[in-house]
Symmetry: C2
Subunit: 101 residues, 2 copies
């Protein structure tokens, strides 16, 4: 069952291309995580927030990643992490061209 993970948290930057440069190595490691299908990196310089939306192949992989990543964010000084795990409603998402497969 595909599982979606939403994470967001207060973030003071870097944003945009500077974020890309700072986090390229991290991104290259994240795509190798077990069960990860994709991640979209999110950022909002106006509200000083960042995060990600992830699709995993199953709930166990998503939960395991969330625990590891939350610990990593906390260790880097991030506080106020909000994370939610959801199942995907496949037929409704298919109607709306959702990239779930």
């Amino acid at each position: 069952m595909p599982t979606l993970l939403q994470i967001d948290f207060p973030f003071s930057g870097p944003f945009g291309e500077a974020m890309h440069q700072a986090m390229r190595s991290l991104a290259e490691s994240i795509i190798e995580e077990p069960g990860l299908i994709w991640k979209i990196w999110t950022e909002n310089a106006a509200t000083q927030e960042a995060g990600g939306v992830y699709l995993f192949s199953d709930a166990t992989a998503a939960q395991h990643y969330l625990e590891m990543h939350s610990a990593r964010l906390t260790a880097s000084g991030v506080t106020g992490i909000r994370a939610k795990l959801f199942s995907v409603n496949t037929p409704l998402s298919m109607i709306c061209k959702g990239p779930i497969q």
Copy 2:
């Protein structure tokens, strides 16, 4: 600039196939919304929540949809809506196979 919208809210069902049946017509209308590229429908029966993750072609379209959809959810009795708009960090998302194009 692609813009991601996260929405979630308390929800007591229906979930799964019953949700599909109840909301198929709504999904067919949502994919026609201006600027929408895709929507993934999210649900969590255990935590009694539902929502969606949307990708729009630009921030203006995302903001316009959010205002319309929030009013529609509120009119249907939904309270406690949490919505966040984010820019997409394109190069980091590309590394992580993010479906942003």
